[in-house]
């Protein structure tokens, strides 16, 4: 279909800038995109009859990575080797 209506996974690498140009980058648009992503994640992994640990474990893992990234400057001081 046309470029603006395709989802991100269906867009080819070369068309990525064009696709980014068509999508809605205003605050409301970004907020709407975040909300849609959140609700689609929920519908896929959490709002099911028999879910497992996968739903929240992925969220926790993402939180761990994010917090590691935010504290990287502080952790860098505790490196073991001087030269990498």
């Amino acid at each position: 279909g046309p470029l603006s209506e395709r989802r991100l996974m269906d867009v080819r690498l070369g068309e990525l800038p064009a696709w980014l140009a068509t999508c809605d980058l205003s605050p409301q648009g970004l907020l709407g995109g975040v909300r849609k992503a959140w609700s689609s994640y929920y519908d896929k992994y959490i709002n099911v009859k028999r879910g497992g640990p996968a739903g929240i474990s992925m969220l926790l893992a993402g939180y761990c990575l994010l917090s590691y990234g935010w504290n990287y400057q502080h952790i860098k001081c505790h490196r073991w080797r001087k030269y990498h």
Partner: protein, 228 residues
């Protein structure tokens, strides 16, 4: 302005009945990485591709010390092992308990729905019975109308009989009056005639008649004696 000719609420509602929740969530391998990632890499690198990628990335982070090993690593390892042990041991029990809770909720809602349906069905049957009774009312009213007609007829005939009796009494009275009058006239006339005849017999005539009777008796006695 409400256009009352437009049909309202005719199409099937969008969210009713609600589509049921999917049975299982998206597939996730080792609880952290979705299956889509493995399927994404399968055409180019086969089955071991993602594992090689993971190992390579891990070694790269460790060797370049982008991931630094410190006390937090030990703590994370202990916590993770405890969590994984707990999930492996008690996961199925917790899942069964949660399923039972869900089952109870669904069963309660279903029972409410069934109760409502049963009540409505009994209401429908009673309504039909009432309609059948209404049909029977026709016969009831017919019989009542017959009763009323019979009462009216009886009353009418009673009054007719009363009228007849009264008229007969009056006519009998008139007849009796006439009879009485004629009787009285007759009696009175007979008495008057007798009185006048008795008055007209003078003493002279009486003596003559008595003498004649004696002569007749003598003649008779003579003939009687002769017969004996």
């Amino acid at each position: 302005v409400l256009h009352t000719t437009r049909a309202l609420h005719t199409a099937q509602q969008r969210l009713a009945p609600l589509p049921p929740l999917p049975e299982k969530g998206g597939e996730v391998r080792y609880g952290l990485i979705p299956e889509e990632f493995f399927q994404f890499l399968y055409p180019k690198t086969g089955v071991t591709g993602p594992y090689m990628l993971g190992t390579g990335l891990l070694l790269y982070f460790l060797s370049k010390e982008i991931y630094v090993i410190n006390h937090e690593t030990v703590a994370a390892a202990c916590i993770l092992s405890v969590i994984i042990y707990g999930i492996k041991k008690y996961g199925s029990d917790v899942a069964a308990f949660a399923d039972k809770l869900n089952e109870e909720k669904v069963a309660k809602a279903l029972s409410v729905k069934n109760e409502a349906i049963k009540d409505l069905e009994t209401a429908i049957e009673q309504e039909k019975k009432e309609q059948w009774r209404v049909e029977g009312c026709k016969y009831l009213f017919d019989s009542k109308r017959n009763n009323v007609a019979m009462l009216l007829e009886t009353n009418y005939r009673e009054r007719l009989l009363t009228v007849y009796n009264e008229v007969k009494k009056r006519l009998d009275y008139q007849v009796a009056m006439q009879n009485l009058k004629r009787q009285k006239e007759q009696d009175h006339m007979i008495q008057w005639v007798e009185r006048n005849v008795a008055q007209s017999i003078t003493p002279q005539q009486q003596k003559e008649s008595i003498a004649k009777c004696i002569l007749d008796l003598k003649a008779l006695s003579k003939t009687a004696q002769a017969a004996v």
